[in-house]
C-alpha cells in the first residue's frame, strides 16, 4: 500500500543560488543515496515519484519548503528525516516529516500563499528631500521616539521630525496599497512582459525598523496561476517612495493552504 510522506525543509545559505529545476535533481539523487523506498514512475526515463511545492526563486532563503514522496512501504518518519539529512548538501535540511492522506492534488496546486521577510537598507533619496518632509508632516501627531531618531553619526537613518519611523513607513505603505494597478515590465526570456503585480499582494507591512534597516513582511498569493518575485513588489514600492533602498536579504517564511501553514 503506497503512502504519501510530506516533508518540510529549509534552503539557506549559498545554496539559495541553485534553481528549482536543479533542486529536483538534487533530491532525486539524495533519495537514491538514502536508499528510501520511494516509488518509481514507469516510462522511458524512470523517476522517483516526488511532488514539489511552488518553486522558490533563485537567491531567496527559505524556512519552509515542501515536497511529497510516494513510498512503497511503511517507514519510520524520523528515519526518513535522519537518512535524508545525512546525504543532503549542507544548506538543505529536512526539519519535519509527516504522513498525509493521499490526495489527488499536488502541493504546487494547493499551496496558495507565501510569507516573505525582506530586509532592506533604506536611505532618503537626495532629489526627493522635499517629499519626505511632506510625508513627515503627516506624522506630527505621533509621539516622538528620541532614541530611534537621533543616533548621531548614522548617515543612513531616516530622520522623522514628527514620529515613529516604523508607523510612518507603514502608513505610507497603506497609501501605496490603495492603488488598484501596479504595472511593471518584467524581464522574460526574449524581452519584457507587462504585468499588474497588485493582485499578488495580500499584505505588506514593516515589522521592525532600526538604524536604517527595515524588515518588511510580505504575504503574496502564489500558485499555478502565476507567481511574482517579492523583489518586484519592493522595487515598485521604493520607486514610488521617497527612499532608495538596497535589498539585503529575502527569505520565504512559510507557505499556506487556505490560510493555514502547510505543516
Amino acid at each position: 500500500m503506497e503512502k504519501i510522506i510530506r516533508i518540510k525543509y529549509t534552503k539557506e545559505g549559498i545554496l539559495r543560488y541553485i534553481s528549482h529545476l536543479n533542486l529536483v535533481q538534487i533530491f532525486n539523487r539524495a533519495i537514491r543515496r538514502a536508499g528510501l523506498p520511494v516509488s518509481i514512475s514507469n516510462g522511458f526515463n524512470p523517476r522517483f515519484r516526488i511532488s514539489f511545492g511552488p518553486p522558490l526563486p533563485l537567491g531567496i532563503n527559505s524556512q519552509a519548503e515542501y515536497l511529497d514522496l510516494r513510498v512503497t512501504e511503511v517507514i519510520n518518519l524520523e528515519e526518513v528525516k535522519n537518512r535524508l539529512n545525512q546525504v543532503l548538501p549542507e544548506d538543505l535540511k529536512i526539519i519535519q516529516v509527516q504522513e498525509v492522506t493521499s490526495s489527488s492534488d499536488s502541493l504546487a496546486k494547493i499551496i496558495d500563499s507565501a510569507a516573505y521577510i525582506i530586509v532592506l537598507k533604506l536611505e532618503k533619496k537626495e532629489e526627493s528631500q522635499k517629499r519626505v518632509e511632506d510625508i513627515d508632516q503627516l506624522s506630527t501627531s505621533l509621539v516622538k521616539d528620541k532614541d530611534e531618531i537621533e543616533s548621531p553619526g548614522e548617515k543612513t537613518i531616516i530622520h522623522y521630525p514628527g514620529g515613529n519611523p516604523l508607523e510612518s513607513l507603514n502608513r505610507e505603505m497603506g497609501c501605496f496599497l490603495r492603488q488598484r494597478e501596479m504595472i511593471i515590465d518584467k524581464p522574460i526570456p526574449g524581452g519584457l512582459k507587462r504585468i499588474n503585480i497588485r493582485p499578488f499582494i495580500l499584505t505588506m507591512r514593516g515589522i521592525s525598523y532600526s538604524k536604517g534597516i527595515l524588515e518588511l513582511e510580505l504575504y503574496l498569493s502564489i500558485g499555478p496561476r502565476g507567481n511574482i518575485h517579492p523583489r518586484y513588489i519592493v522595487e515598485y514600492w521604493l520607486n514610488q517612495s521617497p527612499y532608495q533602498g538596497e535589498i539585503l536579504q529575502v527569505s520565504r517564511q512559510e507557505l499556506y493552504i487556505q490560510g493555514r501553514a502547510v505543516m
Binding site: I14, I18, S19, Q25, R32, P46, G59, P89
Partner: protein, 606 residues
C-alpha cells in the same frame, strides 16, 4: 575572496551555481599553512569541466593525502569575468573561494587546442604573471596535463611543466618532490630541476629549439645536463589497482555528462588512422568485471546517480561486455538505474547489447561510419562495411528506437567528391530503412566534423584541406540533406582550421597566443564567442602564417615539434600505417590478429 562580496555578485550573474561549490562529496579542508595547496584548473565552464573523469580522478587522489588539498577553479563566464575585472578581484576556487594565486600549484587539465586562450585568460584572472619566465619565487607552479600535452609546444611560454601521459601516479610523485623542496625552502629553479627527473615530466624551459631558414625545426635539445632528451609518457600498469573516484562530486547544476563514468578500459588498438587517442592511450588495459561491478556499486551508493556510462574509446570492445551489462542491469535496474554506452560499434552484436541496456532507460544510439565510401573507410582503417551499418540501423528501428545519431568526418586524405556524395547516399539509405519500419516519426541526427591532423597519428604529416573547399563540401551536404527527418549539424571550418594550426604548432605560436589573448580571444570552442578575425589579426601581428601549420604537408624526415615527446608508439609504425592508408589497406586490431610492432608493448608493460 570576501564572501559578502561574492554573494553580491552572485545576484548579478547567470547560473551562479557554477561558482559556489557545496555539492555532495565536495571536499573542503580546513585552512592550514602547512598544507600543500593545489588548484585543479579547468579552462572552460563548470558544466564542461565537471564532465571529465580525469579531473575527478585527480581531485580524489590529491585530497586523499592529509597534507595536501585540491580545490577546483573553472573559467568564469563572461559576465562574472567582467565583474571580477571591474573590481580587480582574482578568480577563486569553488571550495573555499581562495584566489588562484594563493595556491602552491595550479594544474590545468587541457583537453583540446581551442581552450588555449582560456588558459591564458584564467592565468591572468588568477592574478598570476602570464608567462612562465615572469614568475617569481613565491608564485604558484603552473603545470598542465591531458591529451594536449603530447604536443605542448604552443603553450610552453605559459606553463612551467607538463605531465605527459596518465596522471594517477605521477601527480603523487610531483607532490612528494614538492613537499621535500618546500621543507628545504629551495629555489624555484631547483624545484623544476628535481621535477624534471621524474619520468613523464617535461620542463620546456630546459629545452632549446632551433629553426632553419625554411622555418622548419632544425633541432630540439636539452639546454642542460640531467634532463632526458626524450620524455616518455606515463602509463598505469595495473588498471585494477589504480585509484578510481567512487565518491565523485555530484554537481548541483546540470553538467554535460551528469552520470557515473565507469571507465571499463583504457587504450584502443582499433587503429583508426586519424585518431590521436587511439595512439597516445595505448596499450589496452581492461578492468576486471568483478572490479567494475564493485566500483559501480560503491559509486552508486555514494552519488545516487541514475545512470552508469560504460566509458572507453570503444566500449563494445570490452572482452566481457555482454556479461558486464547483464550483471549491471540485473543488479541495479530495478531501482531505475540505467546503463549507457557512449557509441556503438556498427554490427549486430552491438545492437543486441543496446536492447539489453534499454530495459531500464531509453538511450540514444550513436554510430560512426565516419565516411561515405568503402574506399575511404579503408584509407582511415575503419573496418566496417555498409551492409553492417544498414543491418544495425534496421535492427535498431525494429527494436523500437526512433532516433539514431551518425557521425561523419570530411576533409580526410585522398577524399574526393565521390566520397562526399557517398555520405549523402548513405544517410538517405538509412532514412529509407527508418521510414520503412518507423514511418514518419523518426529522426536521424547527422553530425559532420572536419578532419584535423593530430600529432602522433599516421596522418600527422598530412595537410589539412583548405577552408574554401571544406566549406563547399559542407554546404553541399547541407543542401542535399534538407529533410524533415534529418537533423544536420556540423563544425565550423574556421574553428577546425585554428585547431589544426595549434595541434601541430611549435613554440613560436606562444606570441600569437599572447596577442590573441590581448585581443580578447576566449572560449574559442564556443561558436558564440569564437572570433576568427581576431585570431587572424594575432597571426598577422606576429608575422606567422597559419597555413604553414595547418595546410602544409610535412615531409616524413622533417623534425616535428613533438619529436622529443614519446608516446611509446614508434615513428616507423606511423609511417608504415600512412603508407598502408595510401594503398587503401586495412590493418587489423592486434588484439584479434598479429602484433604490428607499434612499439608500445616494448616498454615491458604488457
Amino acid at each position: 575572496m570576501n564572501k559578502s562580496w561574492l554573494e553580491k555578485i552572485l545576484d548579478k550573474v547567470e547560473k551562479p551555481g557554477r561558482y559556489i561549490g557545496k555539492e555532495f562529496n565536495e571536499i573542503v579542508k580546513k585552512d592550514d599553512t602547512s598544507l600543500i595547496k593545489i588548484a585543479l584548473a579547468f579552462p572552460d565552464l563548470y558544466e564542461i569541466g565537471m564532465s571529465y573523469l580525469g579531473f575527478k580522478i585527480l581531485y580524489d587522489i590529491i585530497n586523499q593525502k592529509e597534507d595536501v588539498l585540491a580545490e577546483r577553479v573553472f573559467s568564469p563566464a563572461v559576465d562574472l569575468e567582467r565583474l571580477l575585472r571591474e573590481a580587480n578581484l582574482p578568480i577563486f576556487s569553488l571550495e573555499t573561494y581562495r584566489p588562484l594565486n594563493s595556491f602552491d600549484i595550479v594544474g590545468f587539465t587541457v583537453q583540446h587546442e581551442l581552450c588555449f586562450s582560456n588558459i591564458l585568460n584564467l592565468i591572468e584572472l588568477g592574478h598570476l604573471p602570464l608567462k612562465s619566465e615572469e614568475r617569481e619565487e613565491r608564485d604558484p607552479l603552473v603545470i598542465a596535463g591531458g591529451p594536449v600535452a603530447f604536443n605542448p609546444e604552443p603553450l610552453v611560454d605559459f606553463i612551467d611543466l607538463f605531465v605527459i601521459g596518465e596522471g594517477e601516479e605521477v601527480i603523487q610523485e610531483i607532490i612528494e618532490v614538492y613537499r621535500e623542496w618546500k621543507g628545504q625552502k629551495g629555489k624555484r629553479k631547483e624545484l623544476l630541476q628535481r621535477l624534471a627527473q621524474i619520468e613523464g615530466i617535461y620542463v620546456p624551459s630546459f629545452y632549446q629549439v632551433e629553426y632553419g631558414e625554411d622555418g622548419q625545426i632544425k633541432s630540439i635539445n636539452p639546454r642542460q645536463k640531467g634532463v632526458p632528451a626524450h620524455i616518455k609518457k606515463r602509463i598505469i600498469k595495473d588498471f585494477n589497482q589504480v585509484s578510481y573516484p567512487v565518491r565523485p562530486i555530484v554537481p548541483n547544476l546540470e553538467v554535460v555528462h551528469d552520470r557515473i563514468t565507469l571507465e571499463i578500459f583504457r587504450g584502443c588498438t582499433r587503429g583508426c588512422r586519424f585518431c590521436q587517442a587511439g595512439v597516445i592511450y595505448r596499450p589496452v588495459r581492461e578492468r576486471s568485471l568483478s572490479r567494475l561491478v564493485e566500483l559501480a556499486q560503491e559509486t552508486l551508493q555514494h552519488t545516487g546517480y541514475e545512470e552508469i556510462s560504460l566509458s572507453s574509446l570503444s566500449s563494445t570492445d570490452y572482452s566481457q561486455i555482454e556479461e558486464l551489462i547483464r550483471v549491471l542491469v540485473n543488479r541495479f535496474g530495478e531501482r531505475g538505474v540505467g546503463v549507457s554506452l557512449p557509441s556503438l560499434r556498427i554490427d549486430a552484436f552491438s545492437v543486441n547489447l543496446a536492447k539489453q541496456i534499454q530495459r531500464v532507460r531509453k538511450v540514444g544510439l550513436t554510430f560512426a561510419p565516419e565516411v561515405g565510401t568503402e574506399r575511404l573507410r579503408r584509407v582511415i582503417n575503419k573496418n566496417v562495411c555498409e551492409e553492417d551499418l544498414f543491418y544495425s540501423i534496421e535492427a535498431a528501428f525494429q527494436a523500437g528506437w526512433r532516433r539514431v545519431k551518425l557521425y561523419f568526418m570530411i576533409g580526410l586524405p585522398t577524399e574526393t567528391e565521390e566520397d562526399i556524395a557517398g555520405i549523402v547516399r548513405l544517410i538517405r539509405q538509412v532514412k529509407a530503412i527508418g521510414r520503412k519500419i518507423a514511418g514518419k516519426k523518426m529522426e536521424i541526427n547527422v553530425s559532420v566534423s572536419v578532419f584535423v591532423p593530430k600529432a602522433h597519428t599516421p596522418f600527422q604529416w598530412e595537410a589539412q584541406e583548405k577552408m574554401e573547399l571544406l566549406s563547399q563540401k559542407l554546404s553541399f551536404l547541407k543542401n542535399q540533406l534538407k529533410d524533415r527527418n534529418i537533423l544536420f549539424s556540423y563544425s565550423d571550418v574556421r574553428q577546425s582550421f585554428l585547431e589544426a594550426v595549434f595541434a601541430r604548432g611549435d613554440r613560436r605560436l606562444g606570441k600569437v597566443l599572447e596577442e590573441a589573448h590581448y585581443l580578447g580571444c576566449k572560449f574559442d570552442s564556443w561558436r558564440e564567442y569564437f572570433n576568427f578575425e581576431n585570431w587572424q589579426k594575432a597571426f598577422e601581428k606576429s608575422k606567422i602564417s597559419m597555413d604553414f601549420y595547418a595546410t602544409r604537408e610535412r615531409q616524413e624526415d622533417e623534425l616535428l615539434p613533438w619529436e622529443h615527446i614519446s608516446c611509446g608508439v614508434k615513428k616507423e609504425y606511423l609511417q608504415q600505417e600512412r603508407a598502408r592508408a595510401r594503398k587503401g589497406e586495412i590493418t587489423l586490431d592486434c588484439r584479434f590478429s598479429t602484433c604490428l610492432d607499434c612499439g608500445v608493448c616494448e616498454k615491458g608493460l604488457v
